[in-house]
């Protein structure tokens, strides 16, 4: 049983790569103890990595999921009875070792700097041609090698057969068959690693130095090997998943498919996640149970003379049908204590009690860590983000996303992008910071920058989307459509302008379409949990810091001063009450946090905002940069200069558009 040890992830940014590589690190242990998993994109390297080390890395049915190097130590039983510790390294998928893309550069460097390491090349058995092309390229570097033919089951359903023994004889390396998804063949692989040898096949010297010519030469050799080892029994009937795969990219059926998928995403994330689940967590769990409990506990530990207000809080559990219709299933009302309190009449607080009161307010006051930061992170953000990531993982594993890229390629071309940018854009609806990291799958710098820009500007992340949907509920459906139309319009306009202003060309749209697969529930669940873990680690510290900042500003009575300072902009230009300044102030930290603030002002028994004001505030806050983490991620991916330049455009632009909406609506007397 391999025992997992430390897992380390090395980000793939160009600056970091040089710093972190080469490993193995301290003491340069016996080089043969390193196993490098190398292979074409989307062949199952990460799944095999998981099978070997029992460590989970992100796995999906989309080429280019692994954007960083992951390594873990695993102990394998050795023939002598003693255990052998091996370092297993997962690498990004490459089709070709010529250092054109970041991925190929990283993989090539990895291979060159670990000359003694054993290379386990993972191949999609269905696609032996491309795998062998890579094998022959790796062979030139002279590493001991094992060839793994993965997805043998899919090969069999397609009627293909590979003569493994013959292949092993031709190449001179062990050839193992596996089905990584079902963890078949892992033991045989561990055995074969010991037998690893350099490829002994003679490869004639290429006539030219150009990568394309070399690869052409190698492909001729590959075709000869294939002719001897690979057979395909042609007549095969199209299975349901194959037919589904074709429908999904058909001009008309594909469009219907796309609309259906979007409708399901909207219902599941927007209505069920942001409505029912948030209500359950926020009202049912936090407002009715956890916050009162936290207040009581704090009062018991930090007593100073005060009494909390009591309020009846009702919560209805319902299943949503459309944004305005739902089936109510039950209502529960509880009268509980709330954070607002009054000091005991005539009580004078000494310095000790003042300190107690300060800590009390910091924990459960109006801007308290429990009553605001945690309840917001867990009750509002968590349910929405979970719903989104669950569905996204499902789409990702099914192989639908590349087909979606086919459908939207033309549209994205208008913005100087191509269909490949659909993955970061859709992921942006979950978390913009995570999506900014995924822009690495795009080829040219121009595409990466334009996509990052659009993500930061106008793609609301699921946390913010949830709050915005709640706000829209207080407006008419027309306003919701107006908001959506505006955002799409802004994406197209700013995208096409940035594309023109930014030098360089968009890359070619050449995208491999993987087969549609039935997603594995365990994989989806694990992936969702992994993403949630990342997200919460990213989000909770920011929420606590943001709340603490608000709390301190409130304590030193700076909030009114800030409100006054923001008055010309917020009241004069946007036409909002001056209290909204703090919403925008906190929006600099996280725009969804700012949105919650606006939501508070927009709803309740005495709403502070009129319908037009809600709409203006909504448009402005949507266009804000997502959060500090996103800003830092942009800096990490594209340089701080780019990050500042984007911020310098985004924030004034957000206020500009917000004010424009305000003035135009006043002028046309809409609302």
């Amino acid at each position: 049983m391999p025992e997992p040890a430390a897992v380390e992830s090395v980000p793939l940014g160009s600056a970091e790569t040089a710093k972190v590589l080469p490993f193995p690190g301290p003491g340069a242990r016996a080089a043969a103890a390193t196993v490098l998993l190398v292979g074409n994109p989307n062949v199952g390297k990460s799944l095999l990595f998981k099978n070997l080390t029992h460590r989970y890395v992100n796995v999906s049915n989309f080429p280019g999921t692994t954007v960083e190097i992951t390594k873990a130590r695993a102990t394998f039983p050795s023939s002598g009875g003693s255990n052998r510790e091996i370092e297993v390294v997962d690498s990004p998928g490459v089709n070709d070792l010529s250092p054109r893309s970041d991925d190929a550069r990283v993989t090539l460097k990895l291979l060159e700097q670990n000359p003694g390491a054993t290379v386990v090349q993972v191949a999609d058995a269905k696609n032996l041609r491309r795998a062998l092309l890579l094998t022959l390229q790796i062979a030139e570097l002279g590493h001991p090698m094992v060839l793994v033919l993965n997805m043998l089951d899919e090969l069999a359903t397609r009627g293909g057969r590979i003569d493994r023994e013959k292949l092993s004889k031709i190449l001179g390396v062990p050839v193992v068959g596996t089905i990584a998804l079902k963890n078949h063949g892992t033991a045989a692989l561990i055995e074969a690693v010991k037998e690893a040898r350099p490829v002994s096949l003679f490869i004639p010297e290429a006539a030219s130095e150009e990568a394309y010519e070399i690869n052409r030469g190698l492909l001729t050799r590959v075709n000869e090997i294939l002719a001897e080892t690979y057979t395909l029994d042609q007549p095969r009937h199209a299975s349901l998943s194959v037919r589904l795969g074709f429908w999904a990219m058909h001009p008309l059926k594909g469009l219907a498919f796309l609309v259906t998928i979007l409708a399901i995403v909207f219902w599941f994330v927007g209505l069920l996640g942001a409505g029912t689940l948030v209500n359950l967590m926020e009202t049912g769990l936090f407002k009715q149970r956890i916050t009162p409990l936290a207040i009581r506990a704090t009062d018991a530990l930090l007593p100073f003379p005060h009494t909390h207000e009591k309020k009846p809080i009702a919560f209805t559990f319902s299943v949503p049908l459309t944004p305005v219709n739902n089936i109510p299933l039950g209502t529960m009302e509880r009268t509980v204590i709330v954070p607002t309190y009054a000091l005991a009449p005539g009580a004078h607080l000494g310095p000790g009690a003042q300190i107690l009161r300060f800590i009390h307010d910091f924990l459960v006051g109006q801007y308290g860590v429990v009553s605001m930061a945690l309840s917001y992170a867990f009750a509002i953000v968590l349910p929405i983000v979970t719903a989104f990531f669950l569905l996204f993982s499902l789409l990702e594993d099914s192989g639908y996303l590349p087909r979606m890229a086919i459908m939207v390629n033309r549209l994205f071309r208008l913005m100087g992008l191509n269909g490949k940018a659909v993955l970061p854009m859709i992921l942006g609806l979950g978390c913009d910071t995570m999506a900014t990291m995924t822009t690495r799958i795009l080829e040219t710098k121009k595409e990466r920058v334009v996509t990052t820009m659009l993500l930061a500007l106008a793609v609301p992340c699921s946390a913010q989307l949830g709050v915005l949907l709640a706000m829209m509920a207080s407006l008419s459906p027309v306003a919701a459509f107006a908001w959506m139309g505006m955002m799409i319009g802004i994406v197209l306009l700013v995208g096409s302008l940035t594309a023109r202003a930014f030098p360089g060309e968009a890359g070619d749209f050449i995208l491999e379409i993987p087969p549609m697969r039935r997603p594995q529930f365990s994989n989806i669940w694990r992936k969702t949990l992994g993403r949630l873990d990342w997200y919460l680690r990213e989000v909770i510290p920011l929420f606590v810091v943001g709340t603490a900042a608000l709390f301190l500003l409130d304590k030193i009575r700076a909030l009114p001063a800030i409100a006054r300072a923001g008055e010309p902009l917020v009241t004069g230009w946007l036409g909002l009450p001056k209290e909204m300044s703090s919403a925008f102030l906190i929006g600099f930290l996280r725009r969804d946090f700012g949105a919650v603030y606006i939501l508070d002002a927009a709803t309740g028994p005495h709403p502070l905002l009129s319908h037009l004001q809600i709409f203006v505030a909504m448009v402005t806050i949507t266009l804000f940069m997502p959060c500090i983490a996103n800003f830092l991620m942009i800096g990490k991916e594209h340089g701080m200069k780019t990050a500042w330049a984007m911020a310098a455009f985004i924030f004034p632009f957000a206020f500009f558009v917000g004010g424009l909406v305000h003035h135009i609506s006043l002028w046309l007397s809409i609302f």
């Binding site: 491309r130 086919i406 050449i510």
Partner: protein, 147 residues
């Protein structure tokens, strides 16, 4: 930090500016504005910045490469959906695009089948299914298989 990438005009190799090693013993040192491609050793000046971003925003885009003549040439773009054909050659001036196609097995001599034309071109080469843009599709020159 963002890296500055250069593309060699001769061989199309993309490399970091910091990898652009100077010829040994050159007295100019940092004053030299030539870049040297690490792959083919061709030396070239870094193209002048093509005006400001404002100028790029306002000017019309012009294509530098003349398109292939349309008439009588069989390409993926002119093939009918469902048809098979053999790849004759890959046109276009970008070696990186040619190589990008080659690693998917799309090289002269290989057989492909066009699955669909809209909304994007989708071709099948062996077990690989590839989606392509119209301009890439137009650069893949084909010949009909000898029936």
């Amino acid at each position: 930090m963002a890296e500055h990438f250069l593309t060699c005009p001769l061989c199309g190799f993309e490399f970091r500016k910091s990898d652009s090693l100077c010829h040994h013993g050159c007295p100019l040192g940092a004053l030299c504005n030539l870049n040297r491609c690490p792959a083919c050793e061709y030396e070239f000046p870094e193209g002048p910045r093509k005006g400001s971003w404002l100028r790029r925003l306002l000017q019309r885009k012009e294509s530098t490469v003349p398109p292939l003549p349309d008439e009588g040439l069989l390409t993926v773009k002119t093939l009918a959906a469902g048809e098979r054909a053999e790849v004759l050659c890959l046109a276009g001036d970008s070696p990186s695009r040619r190589n990008h196609l080659a690693v998917f097995g799309l090289v002269p001599g290989s057989e492909l089948r066009l699955l669909q034309r809209h909304p994007s071109f989708v071709v099948e080469i062996g077990e690989t299914v590839l989606a392509l843009d119209a301009d890439v599709a137009g650069d893949i020159v084909l010949k009909r298989p000898a029936a």
